[in-house]
């Protein structure tokens, strides 16, 4: 693998309707730095894909956006601006942040509860007690996640009895039910078969009408299929950010081109 110059990058200016912005975001695990000064603006109601080889820091970056990196000796420096507020501050209530910025993980992780319980559990904790409202949220979120038809007749069964793809869509439904603004997805389909992957991609395209979605994927085709914007990361550096079309057809950086055409990663 040839040496690339990591100090040069191309970041397209996106100015209209920004949902989330990071300013010089660096993540440290103890003394080890995982990402370097990442500044990025995420447009509203779009899908932004983060791509890059393993260890490029894309998941780390994503997990910082709703402050899921807050444990042990992890340290996040820089600003994360949401609705004009820097949410990367210890003064900001992290639970509120996560209510507005939801997340879905690589490994489908429904709770060992009923399908209905999975969705209502967090809502109840956040103070929604009205049964009608809860039921509405269950139905609408399951419908939005395109799993309603498969589970509507056994909402009280254990979520553990679902298939992998169904579990993942349930997790998406669970996140949507919180009615967040932004949805972070960390390689949501990497543990799934192609059919389930296809269904989830379809779901994402639907969801983009109401939500801002940021997805980390190491599946380049997936990025090109679903996303509007793509950010390419390498060794903790953001090297190129552009609309998806440009990145895949006409990358500005040599390294981006090499990655997309499968030279490494």
């Amino acid at each position: 693998m040839q040496k690339y110059d990591l100090s040069k990058s191309y970041v397209k200016e996106v100015n209209s309707n920004i949902a989330l912005e990071t300013d010089q975001l660096s993540v440290f695990y103890g003394k080890k730095q995982a990402t370097y000064d990442i500044s990025l603006k995420i447009p509203k109601h779009s899908i932004t894909a983060l791509i890059g080889a393993s260890g490029s820091g894309k998941s780390t970056y994503l997990r910082s956006l709703n402050r899921m990196n807050e444990n042990g000796n992890t340290n996040v420096k820089g600003k994360i601006i949401y609705e004009g507020i820097d949410i990367n501050s210890s003064k900001v209530n992290v639970y509120e942040v996560r209510k507005h910025i939801g997340m879905v993980f690589q490994e489908p992780n429904p709770f060992a509860k009923s399908i209905r319980g999975n969705i209502t559990f967090a809502l109840k904790n956040h103070g929604i007690k009205d049964k009608k409202v809860l039921e509405e949220r269950v139905v609408s979120s399951l419908k939005q996640a395109a799993i309603w038809d498969e589970v509507k007749d056994h909402l009280d069964d254990s979520a553990m009895s679902l298939s992998g793809g169904q579990k993942q869509r349930l997790c998406i439904a669970r996140a949507i039910a919180m009615q967040p603004d932004i949805l972070l997805l960390d390689e949501p389909t990497s543990a799934l078969d192609p059919v389930s992957t296809g269904k989830i991609e379809e779901t994402l395209r639907e969801l983009k009408k109401n939500y801002t979605i940021i997805i980390v994927t190491h599946n380049i085709q997936q990025a090109s299929r679903v996303s509007d914007y793509t950010a390419f990361m390498h060794s903790g550096h953001l090297l190129e950010y552009n609309d998806t079309n440009s990145i895949f057809n006409n990358p500005e950086m040599q390294i981006t081109n090499d990655y997309i055409s499968g030279h490494f990663g």
């Binding site: 899921m68 209510k99 993980f105 060992a112 009280d156």
Partner: protein, 297 residues
Amino acid sequence: MNPKSVNRIATTVINSLVGVVVALLVLLISYILVTGLPHMSLDFLLSPSQSYQAGGGIRDQLFNSIYLVILTLIISFPIALGAGIYLAEYAPKNWIVDVIRTLIEVLSSLPSVVVGLFAYLVFVIKFQVGFSIISGAVALTIFNLPLLTRNIEDSIKSVPDFQMQGALALGLSKWTTIIKIIFPSAIPGIITGIILSSGRIFGEAAALIYTSGQSAPVLNYANWNPFSPDSFLNPMRPAETLAVHIWKVNSEGITPDANAISSGASAVLILVIILFNFFAHWIGKKLYKKFTVGEVK
């Protein structure tokens, strides 16, 4: 040798080792039951003990054992749960926590008589609690805690981390997640710990001699007021448990039927533990089901 025949040999070795254990178990338990069951009768279970005449029963001791186990669990389980949660989820990863862990493990190797004497000097004498079930429960709690805490910590840690991640991402607090999501999934493992530790409580004698005492005053089973001195529910009364009774009968017992009482009581103890284990597993299963599936109606 090819892997297949190694596999066969290993399986045979494992099976025969297990065979030895099973044979030992059968031998031990049948020895206790065979020598004990002939002495077991309703009368034996329901009459009070005698200090020197034949024909004494174990009514009060049996009740005391069960009551003591329940009281000890009521005291030790919440503490062990909290401490286990702390160690599993909140404890920083540094040497202080490592030292604490090691100290807790060292605590479990103290002979029970040392713990008993400690509880005696501190609770029975200094705090003037007196020889009482509650002092016994405190003593048992002391050496119950290390095993139970360790067990709860491990059970909680064995629940996959992505359950926690999923809940945190929904804006839930760690504590809520632990109590409502992680703990229910850990119940089966925790039940094992409870069974192991309560088995130890059933069988413990040395620590109780100095704390809950070794004489059983006359109990009134119709008196449900836990503050009345002769009530069976009063936690401040001295209480001889089954294991202590077995110890006493064997060491200084001068009743003519000491052997019969000892073997009968041992058989009863085994049966009680079997019942207790079934009960604990049953409760565990119920709780597990209740907390995990169909919580929402």
